[in-house]
Subunit: 672 residues, 2 copies
């Protein structure tokens, strides 16, 4: 629902005033704001929506009365339905006439007012949208009528009041305060507000990559929800998090069909979707991102750990865990170690990690560590269910036709999952052949050749060690308990100079790991670049819509990055990295119905229970129990390691085969 | 031009007869013969033509008179033009009336005849087509008129006589005779006739993959011309070969632009084209087949070696060689050997070889040996030109802005090109990581799951050692002087059991190498499967058009395979492999204007000059000089090695890393 009003007062003269308030089906008309390429694939900006050859919305009904207009449509291909209705009201002492009109693509209310000086003209427009996967348009039209009738009865002010209440509660649970930095503070709140807008209706419609702010990515959902948005929701608005997870659960049947299409057992969630069906056209950077399965499982476990919502896990969550674990167990395969000692390793080939500048590879580190987590958790939850809730377990076994040996198979695969590591460079290669590639010299790549995806053919980019976005570095964050601080630093130093950040999903993750390993200045720089992605239009495409994942990533950079929070296996730990220029950082997290306020200063971290009874966390290894009414302060000796400067390209090192790593920029020779 | 006639005679009664002769723009109308999927990519048969969203042919003119009708069109996107005209003539003593009509998509001539018993009605239709890349339609209409006028003046019989003469000469140069096998003989001639149809107009329009026989592959050209069709034309109709090469030369400017699009120097020929521009939509199996450049260079060198056409090489050929060598020198890169001894190797990454079931790999063996050839030949020809034709050399240097050090760079790269070889299995891996893959168990793959590309998602296929078509094995044929007979046998035995032959380009090549290494029965089996590809519709898509490359491959299997001919570096050698069931194989080859008849029997090979003065060849190491009027017979001790049975899957071997190779068929688990 949306409510708009406009007020016009003539100051010093009489004049005819015409106000034409419209509902316009812009998608199918010629959109005056954008002209788009019709094709997909090479040479086209894949971040924009595709133009459509045919009408997207098929008009089903249009109707108008004196005060109300309604339009209804059905989508050509998906058969989803939508209706939109609007009521208008005018308040004025001036004389006026009005006119109403509706046709297939337009609803129009026109007021012609003989405006007099000093007499205000106020027009209020109340708009109601209802959409559905298949409910007939006439039913949606009725829903619009009921919504509009209710507003008419209760009045507009009641609506504003309700919204105010809702938002007050949202800020109470979610606000992050950086003391002494008003400009930064304003930008942080702008980002957090975007998530409220995007996630408020997560149950019905999930959280698409652009929320409902623009046509970019055609309204589709990616892993953004699970990996970027859900951590924020889990710790500030757990009910919204549950809604978003239920939205995924409702896609499980489609994911089972998709797995079968890919000759796999279990379920494979679509890389890109709006209705549950895979909608990515280029599978090397789409369907090949099998890690989406583990991303969903990851968010699910994080949610249940933070909320203790065992009910959701038993009824819905476990189905997701089992079906995704089955997919991994089937996609991966066993190989004897080659040493003849009976050791076997579990491999996953032919997948694409988060970094879309390298596609369809073997043993992508991110995929493997996330799949390992997925397999482990599925085994753990199923075994736990068998022990603690035998009836729920039996129902699940029947529902999913579970073979009792499956959890053992998952656990064994998790245990033996191949994690690429290279002795020569001392780093975790992004995949088993990543170091074979030539290295892209980003520092010497002209600014007018960035982002790379718009200036180089994919086949060129694919030949190089160059990243669109954090891949290993994201694994260091999400599965950080499996890597030592030294390893994180080595990996970060290797990947940072070849990471373009051409994806807005990259900066927040680079910021978090930069903070952890000690690149303090770089952590802040990445944070600023993420904070202003849309506000300063840093990627030149804010007009396609807000980068919702990046707005939620800003929260992650604040809480995980500078706040130093981690939540491996549901244990909440803190090891802060407060920037020297910030006197104080304050945020809230909700753990099992207890809301905790956390404040970090240069010398201490303080915990206060704002709602609920108690919470248990740990600070740099020491457990801290916080009770209602008894705030706790823990002294901090510094803010972790400090490294000056930024990592530079590590050309000059040698590959496992002994060959020298050199860097270059691909360009044709100029012949004179 | 086409001439058709129909003759009708009533036998025993009077009757009204209506003959409606039409020209119909079927592409844009609803084609009553085919219903096609509109999409591309996964789930769609990529071998068919795509359906188009909009009109392909924009009507420009239509016109009809009593005896003649003409339609003219311009293509919507390419702006290519086409006109078609037809004259009709009726010969009968019966009374008749006629009617003529033309509109945008139809030309129609209708005869209504009061047919009388015993009085023949003969209708003759002469059709002329003219097409062009850009000449206005009205000019093409004039050309149609001139063609039809000429036929009208000279009469239809003269046209048939000309065609007869042309075809007699074609068969005189091209026929292959297998004695005592009439059914085989008929099928062979059917295949050879298809090449005549497809290649007769090579100069204007090249040789598309389907000739002009159907809509498959949308009329596009691939490497089929250079690697499959040109060897036949070079040795039987060298002028047609030159025309086809000139057609490629005319695409050079577009290929330069395409190389620049890919950030490469030199020229990159399109993998799939109709006008010179790259038309492949899925670059992993399209543009990534950089080997197209070497394929063009290969055919060019073969042509010049066989014809001594130095003029063509100096004026046009050398430009192709230089620009393609530049592409390779720039695409590939140097790497120090890792041993610290200063040894360097030249690598080519991120390419796809002929086998489209494995894409975007490093150091594809086929690509590397063909690129090596390309680089070598470019250096050789440029250096030869500098020495033997200084003026032509100077013109070329100015034309191509050649740096005098370039040939040295090419020669060095050729010398150091990486050729994958694996010590453990003793084979040449298809690419540097091919053996890392799991192995597909083809033998246990149900027949209803073949061809794989129609039943498995590409991401599934990509994870396996499984081939759409000969890749290493094709290299063993085209660059066979770089591999020992033992190596060929090892490689063939490894790849044959995992080669599906889902491409019709595969069988003829497998046949040739099977024959060479001694799998005699298998060689014949592959030959038969290629011979009847279209005649028996073995791939289920003959309705999309003739597999022209396969028809020319049939010739290659006869001459190179069973005839045992090779032509490395322009030296013609013979080492026959005559099947035991064939009493005699006879074929012709034209070498530098001398046409040689070659006859192979179980005990001898005979050479006879049919036209020209002399030819020099060699038989199993001994040089043979053949003069006009002096046939030579060389005794043969057997037909090479003989191995019984067929190669079986080599699972159970170990990879370089020591891991065991096992085979499987991907399929989801069935849960009961």
């Amino acid at each position: 629902m949306a409510i708009m009003s406009i007020e016009i007062t003539m100051l010093d003269d009489y004049a005819p005033v015409v106000v034409s308030s419209q509902m316009l089906n812009r998608q199918d008309g010629k959109d005056e704001y954008h002209v788009r390429a019709a094709a997909m694939g090479e040479g086209v900006d894949p971040r924009q929506a595709e133009a459509f050859e045919e009408r997207v919305l098929q008009p089903q009904t249009h109707w108008a009365s004196d005060r109300r207009m309604i339009l209804g449509y059905r989508c050509t291909n998906s058969k989803m339905t939508i209706a939109v209705g609007a009521d208008h009201e005018i308040q004025t002492d001036c004389a006026y006439s009005d006119l109403v009109h509706a046709d297939e693509d337009t609803g129009k209310k026109v007021y012609r007012v003989d405006a007099e000086p000093g007499k205000p003209i106020k027009i209020t427009k109340v708009v109601s949208y209802h959409s559905s996967r298949g409910v007939p348009v006439r039913e949606l039209v009725d829903r619009c009528r009921r919504t509009l009738d209710r507003v008419r009865e209760q009045g507009v002010d009641a609506q504003f009041h309700d919204q105010r209440t809702w938002l007050d509660a949202y800020w109470e649970r979610s606000d992050v305060v950086v003391e002494g930095q008003p400009a930064l503070q304003q930008a942080i709140r702008w980002n957090l507000f975007q998530i409220a807008q995007a996630a408020a209706r997560a149950e019905q419609s999930g959280v698409p990559a652009k929320g409902v702010t623009g046509s970019g990515y055609s309204g589709h959902y990616f892993w953004d929800t699970e990996i970027y948005v859900l951590p924020f929701l889990i710790y500030t608005s757990p009910r919204m998090a549950r809604s978003a997870l239920r939205f995924r659960y409702n896609m499980l049947e489609a994911a089972r069909r998709r797995a079968a299409d890919l000759a796999q057992s279990g379920a494979l969630f679509p890389w890109r979707t709006i209705s549950g069906e895979e909608a990515s056209a280029y599978y090397a950077a789409g369907t090949a991102q099998y890690h989406i399965d583990a991303d969903v499982a990851f968010a699910l476990c994080k949610y249940v750990n933070a909320t203790d919502d065992g009910d959701f896990m038993q009824r819905e969550g476990v189905d997701i865990l089992v079906e995704t674990a089955r997919m991994w167990a089937d996609l991966g395969f066993w190989r004897d170690g080659g040493s003849g000692d009976g050791q076997r390793t579990f491999h996953i080939h032919g997948v694409t990690g988060p970094d879309e500048y390298t596609t369809v590879v073997n043993d992508n580190l991110f995929t493997n560590v996330m799949a390992r987590f997925n397999l482990e958790q599925a085994a753990r939850v199923v075994r736990g269910l068998a022990q603690d809730a035998p009836q729920a377990y039996e129902r699940m076994v029947r529902r999913l036709r579970l073979d009792p040996t499956e959890p053992d198979e998952w656990a064994a695969a998790a245990e033996a999952t191949k994690i690429p590591y290279d002795q020569a460079t001392g780093i975790n290669p992004q995949d088993s052949h990543f170091l074979d590639r030539e290295m892209w010299d980003l520092k010497n790549t002209p600014a007018d050749k960035r982002p790379l995806l718009l200036h180089f053919h994919p086949l060129v980019i694919y030949r190089f060690q160059v990243l669109k976005q954090a891949d290993v570095v994201l694994a260091l964050f999400l599965q950080g308990d499996h890597f030592s601080l030294e390893q994180k630093r080595s990996d970060f130093e290797y990947y940072d100079p070849i990471t373009t950040g051409d994806s807005t999903l990259s900066g927040v993750v680079q910021s978090i790991i930069a903070a952890e390993v000690g690149y303090r200045e770089l952590a802040l720089r990445y944070f600023h670049s993420s904070l202003y992605v849309d506000l300063a239009d840093l990627h030149g495409n804010a007009s396609d819509g807000v980068h919702v994942a990046s707005t939620a990533g800003v929260w992650a950079a604040l809480v995980y990055g500078f706040g130093g929070m981690r939540d491996y296996n549901g244990v909440i730990t803190f090891d802060p990295r407060l920037p020297a220029s910030w006197p104080r950082l304050q945020f809230k997290i909700t753990l099992r119905d207890t809301r905790l306020r956390v404040e970090v200063t240069a010398t201490a971290i303080m915990f206060t229970v704002e709602e609920g009874d108690e919470a248990v966390v740990s600070v740099r290894g020491d457990q801290v129990r916080v009770l209602a009414g008894e705030p706790v302060s823990v002294a901090l000796a510094g803010q972790g390691p400090e490294i000056t400067g930024i990592p530079t390209l590590q050309a000059g090192e040698r590959r496992p085969d002994g060959t020298l790593i050199t860097a270059s920029v691909p360009q044709p020779a100029v012949r004179r």
